[in-house]
Symmetry: C2
Subunit: 185 residues, 2 copies
Amino acid sequence: MYAKGRLKREEILDVALEVFADEGYRGTSLRTVAARCGLTVAGVMHYFDSREDLLTQVIVRRDQTGRPIYHDAPRTLAENVKGNAERPGLVELFVSLTAAAHDREHPAHEVLAHRYAGLRATLSADVVERQEAGELPSHLDPDAIARLIIATADGAQLQWMVDDEARLEGPLSTLLYDVLGLPRP
Amino acid sequence: MYAKGRLKREEILDVALEVFADEGYRGTSLRTVAARCGLTVAGVMHYFDSREDLLTQVIVRRDQTGRPIYHDAPRTLAENVKGNAERPGLVELFVSLTAAAHDREHPAHEVLAHRYAGLRATLSADVVERQEAGELPSHLDPDAIARLIIATADGAQLQWMVDDEARLEGPLSTLLYDVLGLPRP
DNA sequence: GTCTATACGACGATAGAC
DNA sequence: GTCTATCGTCGTATAGAC
């Protein structure tokens, strides 16, 4: 059967997302995921090349099911960031995976590179629009600003890992509304 | 002997830093480190509570041997960030450790929290100085700006992990010089 | 205090039967 | 498509030599 396999694969990904959201990146094993799916480890591995591949596909699926970022890119990005605050395990997964993806052979390398490129293009186009509307100074390089916005959103996650008082969306808000002077939503 | 142990401990830390800088966070094991020190695993573990503790002490030592950040904090921070570009394994180690340190029981939790707090205080004081000198608008919250600067520096590391074209110090330069309008060094 | 030897359980991965 | 069986490696723990 074809459809059954696809469904099972998606079930595994959903379970894995749940497990990793609960217990974090280092805390969980394939055996835990397998048990919650009613499978053995080998059964899970039928669908994925490796543990790291499974982790990668988890965030791929997360991207697919989540809302895309089109209009008012900075604002929807900020909302996404804020939403992550309720799933600490997912933030940990994303950060750990990014670190591991530094290896070009890692299954997440291409995925994350593509993700960054897309986000950068969307944000950059948004900056250009706002410059034409006079909302942002025209001397700023749109691509550099896009990179800055992404770095801010990501870096806030690192601080938030360790500092309880930090708000996940804090630095991004500071940048967008206080420093760049965009209109508050 | 007392001094010998301290020396051996530091040798282990230096070797570990080298190994992790070469092979990354996930790629290396205690056995590799031990072998390069002419010790067994248990010999290494005499000095550290766990593998994660060893990793934590590596970055503690790194902080101690590095230059502290006093005057013109943003600039020295930018130089530090730029210097990391030559040691990708260390950036990977730092990011992975931060993710793991989300667990309050992790040995790096306190260390990183303290490190962030110190950096924030230094940067925040620097912002206040510049506000008094008229270099920065006074309506900005110094602590929020400090958090923004740190987030930018850290987030740039995440992007850089995956994107070869990204410059590690790029986003921080954009923020400090193009957006905040600080004088270029 | 410094270090070796040895053992343990859990892990990711693979081969082959059904 | 899923299993059982097995492998090598990992971090960790303990007992004890020097």
